[in-house]
């Protein structure tokens, strides 16, 4: 049996770890609330954008535009959204797994990373990282998203990448975060048309929408905005998910620490009782010997 002193030391060390995890949990709860409000506020913009773009594409389904067609390049650009900090449970590794298990060949993937953790993990695995935008995730702003989508579009126009995806964690609710891989470009007109049929969007189907400038030009102007809004939405969701994941991880860490402390307390008491008994036996034995 471990000595009393050893057990005591171990217990106090677990206790101070527990304090840290408790504090981290509280911090991420506050951050989560903030990030969640932000995600909810930006939802209106995103939904409206989506409705407009889908209705535009549904109407202008047959137009030819580089943004709507697959280009010759086999390379696939993926924006990977992870966090800059760890201790968030499976949050970062789930995204990494999503990339490695996506079925796209490693040689064809070009990564645009947002978040150190994902960038480091994927670099170790030998993926090609074109550019890193990790600072963005600290406090994502719409202009950051604009800068990134501009960079992506430049590479897309130059033929360096033929498709663009974004990998992020969708914030369903506080306990459920889903790693998601979404296609940004070329815009999947067939899928959109299908969805359009299923669910009625906010735009009244009977009204015939006019476009100014014409659809062909409007597509060129709207698609970058659409992309930016998806990217921004992805960042905001990812921040909420990160804090949600960290909150959960820290909650279970605190609970585990509690369990260990209880166990150690029991061991400590037992050891103490053992020491007392031993001492008593020794004294009695000594007295008898006289």
């Amino acid at each position: 049996m471990a000595s009393m002193r050893e057990i005591k030391r171990r217990r106090s060390s677990v206790q101070s770890t527990q304090q840290i995890t408790k504090a981290m949990k509280l911090i991420s709860t506050v951050k989560l609330q903030k990030a969640r409000t932000r995600a909810e506020n930006s939802k209106a913009y995103f939904e409206c954008m989506y409705a407009t773009v889908t209705s535009m594409l549904a109407k202008a389904g047959n137009i030819e535009h580089p943004y709507l067609q697959k280009s010759d390049s086999k390379k696939v650009g993926i924006v990977v959204v992870t966090s800059n900090r760890g201790l968030a449970g499976g949050y970062n590794s789930n995204i990494v797994k999503l990339i490695t298990g996506s079925g796209i060949e490693k040689e064809n993937i070009r990564l645009y990373t947002v978040g150190h953790k994902g960038a480091e993990a994927l670099e170790r695995k030998g993926y090609e990282i074109v550019e890193d935008f990790s600072d963005v995730i600290e406090e994502p702003s719409y202009s950051d998203a604009q800068a990134i989508s501009k960079r992506l579009l430049t590479d897309f126009a130059a033929g360096e990448i033929g498709e663009i995806y974004v990998a992020y964690t969708f914030f369903k609710n506080t306990v459920s975060h889903i790693p998601t891989l979404t296609k940004l470009l070329p815009v999947d007109t067939a899928a959109i048309a299908e969805e359009e049929k299923e669910g009625e969007s906010s735009v009244d189907k009977l009204t015939l929408m006019n476009f100014e400038p014409e659809e062909e030009v409007a597509v060129g102007l709207l698609v970058p905005k659409y992309m930016t809004s998806i990217l921004y939405g992805a960042f905001v969701e990812a921040v909420a998910s990160e804090n949600g994941a960290r909150m959960q991880a820290m909650d279970s860490a605190t609970n585990n620490a509690e369990e260990i402390i209880e166990d150690l307390a029991l061991k400590y008491n037992r050891a103490r009782q053992g020491a007392i008994t031993q001492e008593l036996t020794e004294i009695i034995a000594g007295a008898e010997a006289l």
Partner: protein, 131 residues
């Protein structure tokens, strides 16, 4: 009394404005536009500009920095990339931004003439909103 339409201005961070109006002025990529209720359904792309929201005799101004407008018969939705009320605008900063953008345009050595132009338009729109 002119007929009213519903107006919603949405920016990425918030629902910027929600209310009614009788007449709406803005600048699209095709030129200046004014919209009354019962306009034909139209989607158009915005330039950075000052949007004037008329409600009867009351006029509200806001700087809209790019985005697009979706006009339906009695409902107008503005998706702005950034929107500001005149009170929120830092005029000094906008002036400096204007000078910077002008310098860059004058030199013409930059790769990003387009960006400087947009920055200039935004700076001017901000200042106009305050006036």
């Amino acid at each position: 009394m002119a007929e009213r339409f519903e107006l919603k201005i949405i920016s990425p961070d918030e629902v910027f404005y929600e209310g009614e109006g009788t007449f709406l002025e803005f600048v699209s990529v095709e030129g200046e536009m004014g919209v009354y209720q019962n306009h034909i359904p139209l989607t158009t792309i915005l330039e950075p500009c000052v949007m004037k929201i008329h409600n009867e005799s009351e006029v509200k101004k806001a700087a809209i920095l790019g985005g697009f407008v979706e006009i339906q018969k009695d409902k107008i939705t503005v998706l702005a990339e950034d929107a500001q009320w005149p009170e929120e605008i830092d005029v000094e900063r906008a002036k400096k931004a204007e000078e910077r953008a002008k310098e860059r345009l004058a030199k013409k050595d930059g790769i990003d003439i387009l960006r400087a132009e947009v920055a200039l338009k935004k700076a001017i729109a901000r200042q106009n909103a305050v006036k």
